[in-house]
Amino acid sequence: MEHTIKSENGVMTVYLRGEMDHHNAARLREQIDAALTFENPAVLRLDLSEIAFCDSSGLGFIMGRYRRMESAGGSMILVNPSEPTMRILRLAGVDSIIRAEYTKGAAK
């Protein structure tokens, strides 16, 4: 699993690629949380367009970052969530809670 972080004017965008399972989520959580502590952004944008696989551990990762942003008075937006991520979010009924943004041909 790979990720790229971009920060600008209090908006941190994280591009994620690969399979979001328990093994990968554990390492990702550490790295993203370290970046959140350092940057302290008002908005976290998680680009999930290239997530090829997501299970309940991926859901746990997404919900965890959502709760962290909300409790810090910030917000989180999912960008172009892929079908594997959406179906888990839908199943858990959180697709209606977390904001998602769909951009066409998003530049990276």
């Binding site: 399979e19 399972d21 328990h22 696989f53 299970d55 309940s56 551990s57 859901l59």
Partner: protein
Amino acid sequence: MKRSPQNRFKCVFPAKSANESFARMIASAFVAQLDPRVDELADLKTAVSEAVTNVIVHAYAGTDIPPEERVVIMSGELREGRRIAVTVKDRGKGIEDVKKAREPLFTTSAAEERSGMGFTVMETFADTVKVASRPGKGTSVRLYKRFT
């Protein structure tokens, strides 16, 4: 009389998180003989991933079972009518109340950002899920799926 399966496999590997993707690959490789539809393959991989992750996360946690005995025992059968059964077993602590464990949102590790959705995911993406567990002995999760 029970017909014998058309094909089957069995493998044992350490209950380590790096093996979650390995388990998904085993499941994909086994059903490749059916030339499965992409969405049905994704369903099976997701259900298998949940069952295997549960062994890795829960089965041996807080037990004094030595590392070399902390294993995932995974097997699969292909039966007539393009039906697949994958079994994920462990020799861990077992589940006290299986009915409760299967309820959506039930988790014993909320602190670790678990949402208690694993069994719900299995039930959604497999046709049938059978769980047998004995406290102190281990757990067996059987996932059934028919491919079109």
